[in-house]
């Protein structure tokens, strides 16, 4: 057997002295640290060194035990590095991914480690400073490779092989490994005494008290002697085992478009009161049902404003966004026009156009300027007497008018009472038929058209009735245009008519 030596293995440690490195290693072995933790505490920061051969050789050289074989849990990583690194665990990850039946090209992996590992690492770091101050007093704690990184360096390549997919820093498909250690919070309790200002016991969220950021900040600012007084240094070998939850998530996919609605009995979103449906379907459902090809767990529908159930949405349509949550199938992102076709084929009353993939950053476009942009309507109105040419001229010559609208009675129960000033940019009566006439009106967003026509008990002033001095009522309303340039119009959209 060839003589093993540290210098042959070509590590890059905080110290260049083999002798010192051996001493440090022995100190770590004496407190039951696993070989991976010894490597990271020694200062090795190159992923290529965290492979089976190197780790095994180092263990032999140190004549250290194998924590897993000897059933000793490492005080530094709680077993994450020595117990959760073998092929059986990677198999388990694979089977979870397989069971969830995701379609993905590459993946990212995130580890959530118990918060007490921060305390434990600090404790070992102080222990090393005490023993080998010449090395550790000039090395900041952040220089020690984290458990997360070491796990990824060591397991990443084999996991990629198992999943037959590329491990990436950033991927829409995420595998989460959440490690849970029963005593993690308990180990933090002393911070309530030492840092009472940062860790005030709040009644509402006792679970969020010991966040990673807060604990890290507290530990690094706490004087060493105070820390040592309150927390075992070096930290004790854990007696409880750690558990791991494996879960997967596909990053939200965002799709935008415009919808048209040809029904006067279709609500925009599902309308359910006390568990009873009031409308058979909704614009949201008509659109999202075709999105089932994404096999998502949920959809979030949002739009630039909304129209009443009995109002048709015509013209170029109303911009909307669908957020597709945790999609199990992602190939359809390349076939958005097929999704649009599917919606238009399946729904009789809702048609979509300009359907396109957007990014999370694009979302603000939908709500931006929601109150500034104008909307055009056509209202079918009735007047108590047939309108005269003078009546019509009176309206048609009006340019911009400002109206004062009190919160409409039909929404007053749930919206705050206010008088809102709204602009009417354009108003005209083009056609009449006996007592009926068609009113074309373009207004600032947020104007209540029905109330403008009948006056809502004189609570919108001026209103059409007061302007004409004739009682007016509204029979039907169509939105003819929502002035929002986003999402961009697509050329190939000829199928909405």
């Amino acid at each position: 057997m060839a003589e093993l030596s540290l210098s042959k293995m070509q590590f890059e440690f905080f110290t260049t002295s083999d002798e010192l490195a051996l001493e440090i290693s022995q100190a770590l072995v004496s407190i039951n640290c696993c070989t991976w933790c010894i490597l990271r505490f020694l200062g090795e920061k190159r992923p290529c060194m965290y492979v089976n051969e190197t780790v095994n050789e180092l263990r032999q050289l140190l004549n250290a035990k194998d924590n897993t074989v000897d059933c000793v849990i490492c005080p530094g990583c709680l077993g994450i590095l020595h117990k959760y690194n073998a092929s059986d665990f990677l198999q388990e990850i694979k089977s979870v991914v397989k069971k969830e039946d995701y379609e993905f090209i590459d993946y990212q992996c995130s580890l959530i480690v118990p918060v007490c590992t921060i305390l434990r690492q600090h404790s070992i770091y102080l222990f090393l400073q005490e023993k080998h101050g010449s090395v550790y007093c000039k090395i900041p704690e952040e220089e020690i490779s984290s458990i997360k990184d070491v796990w990824k360096w060591f397991c990443g390549p084999s996991l990629s092989k198992q999943l037959n997919s590329e491990f990436k820093q950033k991927s829409p498909f995420e595998i989460s490994l959440i490690f849970k250690y029963e005593d993690s919070e308990k180990e933090c309790y002393f911070l309530l005494e030492t840092n009472p200002n940062e860790f005030q016991r709040r009644k509402k969220s006792p679970f969020d008290l010991f966040t990673r950021a807060a604990v890290f900040k507290a530990v690094t600012t706490l004087p060493d002697d105070v820390f040592k007084k309150n927390y075992q240094t070096p930290c004790l070998t854990p007696v409880k085992t750690i558990d791991c939850d494996i879960s997967c998530n596909f990053d939200a996919i965002f799709i935008a478009g415009r919808y048209l609605k040809f029904s006067r009995t279709l609500s925009q979103t599902p309308w359910i009161i006390d568990g009873v449906r009031k409308t058979k379907s909704s614009v949201e459902e008509e659109i999202c049902s075709a999105m089932s090809i994404f096999k998502a767990t949920d959809f979030k529908f949002s739009s630039s404003g909304r129209e009443d159930v009995d109002v048709r949405m015509l013209g170029n349509g109303r911009p909307f966004i669908v957020e597709i949550l945790d999609a199990h199938r992602c190939h359809a992102v390349n076939e958005i026009s097929a999704v649009q076709e599917l919606i238009n084929e399946t729904s009789d009353v809702v048609k979509v156009r300009d359907l396109q993939l957007i990014t999370r950053e694009d979302i603000h476009n939908l709500k931006e300027g929601e109150l500034e942009k104008s909307k055009c309507y056509m209202a079918l109105c009735w007047s108590s007497s047939t309108l005269t040419p003078e009546n019509i001229q009176l309206i048609n010559q009006l340019k911009t008018i400002e109206i004062q609208q009190k919160t409409p009675l039909r929404v007053l129960h749930r919206r705050s009472q206010a008088v809102r000033s709204r602009m009417i940019y354009d108003i005209s009566i083009k056609e009449t038929k006996e007592n009926y006439f068609k009113l074309y009106i373009s207004t600032q967003a947020g104007t209540y058209i029905k109330e403008f026509v009948h006056g809502d008990f004189g609570r919108t002033v001026p209103n059409l009735s007061s302007l004409l001095n004739v009682d007016c009522d509204i029979l039907t309303l169509d939105v003819q245009g929502v002035e929002l340039k986003w999402p961009p119009q697509l050329d190939n959209d000829m199928d909405t008519k």
Binding site: R306, D308, D310, L380, L409, V411, K433, L475
Partner: protein, 210 residues
């Protein structure tokens, strides 16, 4: 999704290909489409001082004079409206804020909302009829007091009250239905008949049929 968005428009109309209605029928009036009428007669024991409460399905109530109220039947000319209903209670001071209508004055069925002062010297008190939060006082009637009689179901209403959700049914039950109200008013006019004031009662009935 909230109730007010479920506004099915006016059912029963058909449209041609140019979106015109196929008849020239007038649509049922706005008030009839959205509100149910309830009544309280002889308010505070004063014969004839009938009130109407227009109830929206969203628990918003509009208090206004019933068409059998003497101000309307006797075609009184109103000189002013006084919202100072008691020392320290002025309905014009009512300020509400937020969705929860914070700061609203609470009113009981017999709480006064305002006093109507007529040119002939007669005065009438308008009461809330229901228990709830005073959401709005109609300030238009300060400047156009005769709207009260001319447009009781439009710009001449008196106040808007929001009944608590769990008290809505109870409050509505304490009011008279339209049917019951008509019966009471008709009985009243026949009593007046008997007391040989036929002309006056005819007037009342005529007005009622409007």
């Amino acid at each position: 999704m909230e109730e007010e968005d479920f506004d099915n428009g006016i059912p029963g109309f058909e449209f041609d290909e140019n979106d015109w209605p196929t008849t020239n029928e007038r649509p049922p009036p706005f008030v009839d489409r959205y509100f149910s009428r309830f009544y309280k007669t002889d308010m505070n024991g004063k014969i004839g001082e009938d009130h109407c409460v227009l109830c929206h399905s969203n628990k918003i109530c509009i208090v206004t004079l019933a068409k059998s109220h003497p101000v309307i039947t006797e075609k009184k000319v109103i000189s002013s409206i006084n919202f100072q209903v008691a020392d320290g209670i002025n309905r014009l001071d009512n300020k509400v804020s937020g969705k929860g209508k914070r700061g609203a004055q609470w009113v009981k069925p017999n709480s006064a909302l305002c006093r109507i002062i007529c040119e002939d010297g007669s005065q009438y008190t308008v009461c809330a009829c229901v228990r709830g939060m005073l959401v709005e006082i109609n300030e238009t009637i300060l400047t156009s007091p005769n709207f009260i009689a001319e447009k009781p179901e439009d710009a001449g209403f008196v106040a808007i009250i929001l009944i608590k959700k769990n008290e809505y049914e109870r409050e509505k039950k304490a009011l008279l239905s339209e049917e019951k109200y008509k019966e009471i008013v008709n009985n009243r006019s026949s009593t007046v008949d008997k007391s040989s004031n036929a002309e006056e009662s005819n007037k009342t009935e005529q007005t009622l049929q409007l």
